[in-house]
């Protein structure tokens, strides 16, 4: 006999499975379009456009289209449990590690760490200060500063947990991240090409200034393979620093703002709990692939890494489709325009600061 409790428990899971199926179906269309359109347009006046528009563009546009359709039919909220952007992007990044030689990571790690520490300090400080001037609640401005300075939605979630922010504040910050990240995916690679930035500098700029990891990957994929690799290394470094900022926020809010939020958990344990574990997977696959490629004939190694790259592309498409499906502007209307102004100003600061640091730290980078 099925109890009503059992039915209620199962329903969200079934809806989540249906959500994953919807993401998979849209992703299959994206994969098909990204191969079919260049073939259709070949030899026509649109050949250049057909070849230039790559899978992240189809994925985000189809995700947004799916979002509109599911929203209109009232299914979006029910299916949203299957829109696992974080899981898809993290798995894609673990797979991406296999196509990056360990020596590239070793060379880029130093400048990436310096760039990340400077960017996080400057941009977090600026957004925190401006949020104070704009009269924002301490927790909201800390959330916005974390999101814009570190790694978007993941940083906002970690910071919200660290200082026990309201759910509405987290939802608002996450929505702002996506609203600003979506145009950046297209704008930053285009600007990098317009300015004529070398691949490594462009990658470091993309990884440094775009907030959310999925959007960094989409922009990097649009810019080129080397740009994608450097952008990912920079973003992964920022992700790794997330724990440090979360612990600092926990301490600040417990000691200065909300004493009830004090925790007895040791700092080392907090750092480990907040550390994004996919970074370990990313490093592990790079080590495994580097050793593997040194041990097998070149053709065999290339074919195997090609399979990993195809799998990676699938996970990135799943993530980009999910970004489009999760996009909402309604949350933004509830909090007014001051936080939007603070976030926009901080975005301009990180755009410029990341460009300067990338040009300085990656100008002589060669791998």
């Amino acid at each position: 006999m099925t109890t009503s409790t059992g039915t209620t428990r199962r329903s969200p899971l079934l809806w989540a499975v249906a959500g994953v199926v919807a993401v998979l179906a849209l992703s299959a269309v994206v994969r098909w379009l990204s191969k079919a359109v260049p073939a259709w347009t070949k030899g026509t006046g649109l050949e250049g456009v057909g070849a230039a528009v790559e899978y992240p563009v189809y994925a985000i546009l189809l995700g947004l289209l799916g979002n509109a359709v599911l929203g209109a039919t009232g299914l979006r909220d029910r299916l949203s449990g299957g829109f696992r952007t974080e899981f898809f992007i993290k798995t894609g990044l673990v797979l991406l590690g296999a196509s990056i030689n360990l020596s590239v990571i070793a060379q880029a790690a130093g400048p990436a760490l310096v760039q990340s520490v400077l960017l996080i300090s400057v941009v977090f400080g600026f957004a925190w200060w401006l949020g104070g001037r704009a009269g924002l609640d301490d927790k909201l401005r800390a959330l916005l500063a974390s999101a814009v300075a570190i790694c978007g939605v993941s940083a906002a979630i970690a910071a919200a947990g660290a200082m026990q922010a309201k759910k509405e504040q987290l939802a608002y910050s996450a929505s702002l991240v996506i609203v600003f990240a979506l145009p950046s995916i297209f704008l930053v690679p285009w600007l990098a090409e317009l300015i004529g930035l070398p691949a490594a500098v462009a990658g470091a700029w993309i990884g440094g200034n775009i907030d959310t990891t999925a959007a960094v990957t989409a922009a990097g994929a649009l810019a080129g393979e080397q740009q994608l690799q450097i952008a990912t290394i920079v973003k992964v470094t920022q992700n790794a620093l997330l724990g440090v900022v979360a612990v600092a926020l926990t301490a600040y809010f417990a000691l200065r703002v909300d004493r009830s939020a004090a925790t007895t958990e040791p700092v080392a344990r907090q750092l480990w709990r907040r550390f994004p574990k996919f970074v370990l997977g990313f490093l592990a696959t790079s080590v495994i692939a580097t050793v593997y490629l040194a041990a097998v004939p070149a053709a065999e190694g290339k074919a195997a890494i090609g399979v990993v790259n195809d799998l990676r592309t699938w996970f990135l498409i799943l993530a980009f489709v999910s970004i489009g499906l999760e996009f909402r502007v309604s949350t933004l209307r509830q909090a007014g325009w001051r936080p939007v102004g603070v976030f926009a100003a901080a975005t301009v600061v990180i755009l410029l600061a990341a460009l300067g640091l990338a040009a300085l730290l990656f100008r002589n980078f060669s791998a």
Binding site: A28, R31, R84, E86, F87, K90, T91, L93, V94, L95, G97, A98, I157, A158, A160, G161, Q164, A165, K166, K167, E168, Q169, L170, R273, P276, K277, F278, L280, G281, A284, T285, I288, A289, Y292, A303, A304, I305, G306, V307, V308, D310, L311, W314
Partner: protein, 47 residues
């Protein structure tokens, strides 16, 4: 009935779910890399 979110709710993260998703991504990614490098997933199988 859908759960209501009150204005006083805090965003204590869903730590177990987040960590699970993190580790799940590592496990799935490593497993797929291993299958590809060992030749279990042959070239051309992934569309």
């Amino acid at each position: 009935m859908a759960q209501q979110t009150s204005g006083d709710d805090t965003a204590s993260p869903p730590p177990s779910r987040r960590l699970d998703e993190d580790w799940l991504a590592v496990v799935v990614g490593l497993a797929l890399v291993a299958l590809a490098l060992l030749g279990v997933i042959p070239t051309g199988l992934v569309p």
